[in-house]
């Protein structure tokens, strides 16, 4: 992933949430996927503009969202694109 980090910010702007490194945080930009799944993820707080910190990558991974720790399977998160902080 180091290559992505070295790219200019305009190119490296959006990455899938699952690619965040431990301790790295980002802002949710896009939530992609089928209507119902996306809607449910949004209801749980995974919405555009939400701040996310990766605590433990993998599946299920541990993330911090709005001060809460969540365990989520990576399959569900592949459609979430974040702007790394």
């Amino acid at each position: 992933m180091s290559s992505v980090a070295e790219l200019p910010p305009s190119v490296a702007e959006l990455i899938p949430l699952t690619l965040l490194r431990p301790g790295q945080s980002g802002t949710v930009d896009q939530v992609l996927g089928t209507g119902d799944l996306v809607h449910r993820l949004r209801e749980m707080g995974l919405r555009r503009g939400a701040m996310i910190e990766m605590i433990r990558p993998g599946s299920p991974c541990m993330i911090r969202l709005d001060g809460h720790t969540l365990g989520i399977r990576s399959t569900e998160l592949s459609g979430i694109l974040v702007r790394p902080a």
Binding site: L37, R42, M44, E53, G67, G71
Partner: protein, 745 residues
């Protein structure tokens, strides 16, 4: 004489996100006065409690924790219907109490915005304010109250702080028929216009019916799964008409820049942000709390898993060893009661009914209580301190392979002690398909009641030799029996998820709540709640079945001549004992009397309806290597599989008291000596294995079936469970016997 006014009762419904401490608030308000049942027709638990406010009686209704009021299934519909007063079995709530976690106001306000739109009087209770303070968050409560337009009461339920203020707010709000001010819709103009349009269309299409609440009309538009459309009663069943209207409306909304369903999240989070702007201030840098440091170890793939295994081993040790003295005590109490009744009542059908039917039936229920209490005591501690969610997180990777989630792990593990608490522990699984699959495979885990069966047959028939020099063959057989259950459960779970419970898995998200010290009040409360719900709900069914089984074993009686012959022989022996002078002779005569009594009992059981049933089914069980005696013992053990040991004792003339070491060995001898009618030995190693496999896989436990009936709220599922397990047990036993015989030959 004054006219006693009926004390006015009011109703409040509790709603909130998962892990907001809603159950704690419910428990703190209602104390011990609560009832747990089920809403008819769904798997949703109906929990109600009582409290007193200013001398008035209030009913509390606890609704399932949810992130959103967006019903896409019958189960999710319950909460919305209860709050809108649309369920005939539940009184319309006077107030809705929305429990909100102060640490995650944005997401919690999403639900609040939906609740406010229901147009019912509402009170917000703010929990975990202490944790928010620790994290450096500050809140401007008066401003939040003003913006929301409803009372907002900070509480700490486990310390009982703020409860009086909450009750006062509830009492004041309940007197309003409608909320003080109609809430403003968070939705943009075009959306509201489409909702009004559909409302008008529905008014025409539903003559004579009360108008659909506005909230449900909104949901009709937002629910892309189409569930709600099928929920609306229409004149002439014009479902296509409604569907066309909705599709057209969605099309127009998409063109207007309000795509459905995304518009809801945009609108509600926008509303939440406007409510919280200037109300919440957070520290710039999130502080690393001690909980974060603990989590680094506890959720670590290696260290976390090792700690988890150690914790589970400790709990199991406690469940198995601590429960023994208590279970013995209950056994002794039940035995003492039976002896007492035996002493005061004359011999006959009534005495036998009370002792062998009723007392034994009740004893069979309450003997499980120590294990249930101990298991739920520990699970309560782990749950309340926040560890259980971490355990599920750790186990998810393993359980995903079976199509289940980490949340199924603890219920399945508990089932090794006893399937009853295991099935009850599935309540933590929100997804209905996962929960049903877990319930249906839980009884395949080898519970402690199978141990006596394994122990008896292994000790009697598996030679005590060592394989490869050090592994005992007997121990290996025991492990194999546990493995049979686990492997079958994995296969059945996988098959169920591919067929009956097929469908898109909802996103697996589990909250890992902040660590805290467990509250003794909450832990004990949960323990007793689950224990009692078992006794009350399952007890009646178990009791009834015990009496039926008693009757099947008791009737018809031996002909008087046979009975008299036995009585005469016993009387003669008793006379001899009177005359005998040395202790040795008395002992020998006592042994003879015991043998005679056991034979009389055996004759009676063979004649009984159950004994006859055993003969009728003999052709069916012959492919398993069984004769009618084993068949009858298997039928008799329907209420509880461990009964089979006692029943074998009776049928093989040893007497039912086979539990002592001496009795067990006498039974082992009797089994080894048992022969077919043609003189071949009845029990061979394949036969013993076939019986063990049968009992490893069968659903011979009426308590478990009763609990499944209670948890699934249907008779269909326990019947299905019994049927599939019996079929598996039968063919499993047949396979083992046939293959075993073929290898031996």
């Amino acid at each position: 004489m004054s006219i006693a006014a009926e004390p006015q009762t009011r109703t409040v419904a509790l709603i909130g996100n998962p892990n907001t401490g809603k159950s704690t608030v419910f428990g703190a308000l209602s104390g011990v006065q609560q009832r747990v049942g089920n809403y008819p027709g769904v798997t949703v638990e109906k929990k109600t409690g009582r409290m007193t406010v200013d001398g008035k009686r209030w009913t509390l209704i606890d609704l399932p924790g949810t992130y959103s009021l967006a019903p896409r299934s019958l189960d999710e519909m319950v909460a919305v219907d209860v709050m809108l007063g649309r369920r005939p079995d539940t009184p319309k709530p006077d107030v809705i109490l929305c429990i909100v976690d102060a640490n995650n106001l944005e997401r919690n306000l999403y639900l609040v915005s939906q609740v406010l739109e229901l147009g019912r009087p509402t009170v917000v209770a703010l929990t975990m304010t202490d944790l928010a303070e620790d994290r450096g968050t500050t809140l401007d409560l008066p401003k939040l109250r003003e913006r929301l337009g409803v009372p907002v009461v900070p509480i700490r339920a486990h310390k009982r702080i703020g409860l009086d203020a909450l009750k006062t707010a509830l009492a004041e709000t309940a007197t309003q028929e409608q909320p003080a001010s109609a809430p403003e819709s968070p939705f943009p103009e075009p959306f509201q216009g489409e909702v009004a349009r559909i409302e008008a269309w529905l008014a025409d299409a539903r003559p004579g019916l009360p108008p659909l609440p506005r909230y449900l009309v909104e949901r009709l538009l937002l629910d892309t799964s189409g569930y709600l459309e099928g929920h609306v009663a229409l004149k002439n069943g014009n479902v296509e008409g409604l569907h066309a209207e909705i599709l057209a409306a969605r099309q127009r909304l998409a063109e207007a820049g309000c795509p459905v369903p995304a518009v809801e999240a945009m609108a509600r989070y926008g509303w939440a942000a406007s409510m919280l702007d200037g109300v919440v201030t957070r520290p710039d840098e999130p502080r690393v709390t001690s909980g974060d440091r603990v989590d680094r170890v506890l959720t670590h793939r290696v260290w976390g898993t090792l700690i988890f295994v150690a914790v589970m081993a400790l709990i199991f040790q406690a469940v198995f060893t601590w429960s023994i003295p208590l279970m013995d005590l209950i056994d002794a109490g039940v035995g003492g009661l039976a002896t007492l009744v035996e002493g005061v009542m004359a011999e006959g059908a009534l005495r036998s009914l009370i002792i062998d039917g009723m007392i034994a039936g009740v004893g069979g229920v309450i003997v499980f209580l120590p294990q249930i209490f101990i298991l739920f005591f520990f699970l309560g501690i782990l749950e309340d301190c926040g560890y259980l969610a971490r355990a599920a997180y750790l186990m998810d990777r393993l359980m995903t392979r079976l199509g289940l989630s980490g949340k199924s792990f603890i219920p399945l593990l508990s089932s090794f002690a006893c399937a009853i608490p295991g099935v009850m522990a599935t309540r933590v699984i929100e997804d209905r398909r996962d929960r049903m699959t877990t319930i249906l495979v839980a009884p395949l885990m080898s519970c402690s009641a199978r141990l006596p069966v394994y122990t008896l047959l292994i000790a009697a028939f598996i030679p005590p030799v060592a394989v490869a020099g050090f592994v005992s063959l007997q121990a290996m057989t025991m492990v194999a029996m546990y493995a049979v259950g686990v492997i079958t459960a994995a296969a059945v779970a996988w098959a169920l998820k591919k067929t009956a419970f097929k469908g898109p898995t909802p996103p697996f998200v589990m909250e890992l709540p902040a660590y805290k010290w467990p509250s003794p009040r909450v832990v004990l409360h949960r323990m007793f709640e689950r224990g009692w719900s078992f006794v009350r709900r399952a007890g009646t069914i178990i009791f009834a079945v015990s009496i039926v089984m008693w009757a099947l074993l008791y009737f018809p009686r031996l002909p008087e001549s046979t009975e008299a012959a036995f009585a005469q022989q016993i009387a003669a022996l008793e006379d001899q004992r009177e005359a005998a002078d040395d202790a040795e002779a008395v002992e020998a005569i006592d042994a003879q009397i015991a043998t005679l009594e056991a034979r009389a009992d055996g004759e009676q059981k063979r004649l009984s309806l159950l004994g006859r049933a055993g003969r009728v089914i003999e052709p069916v069980v012959r492919p398993l290597g069984w004769d009618w005696r084993i068949g009858a013992a298997a039928i008799a053990s329907f209420p509880a599989r461990e009964v089979v040991v006692a029943t074998l004792g009776v049928i093989f003339d040893v007497g039912s008291d086979v539990e002592g070491e001496e009795g067990a060995s006498r039974l082992q001898v009797a089994l080894r000596e048992a022969e077919h009618r043609d003189g071949r030995p009845l029990f061979t190693i394949p036969v013993a294995l076939s019986i063990m496999v049968f009992f490893a896989l069968c659903a011979q436990c009426v308590s478990t079936l009763a609990v499944i009936r209670r948890e699934t709220n249907s008779w269909g599922w326990p019947l299905f469970c019994f049927a599939y397990m019996t079929v598996l047990a039968y063919f499993g036993a047949m396979l083992v016997y046939q293959v075993g015989t073929w290898i031996a030959a």
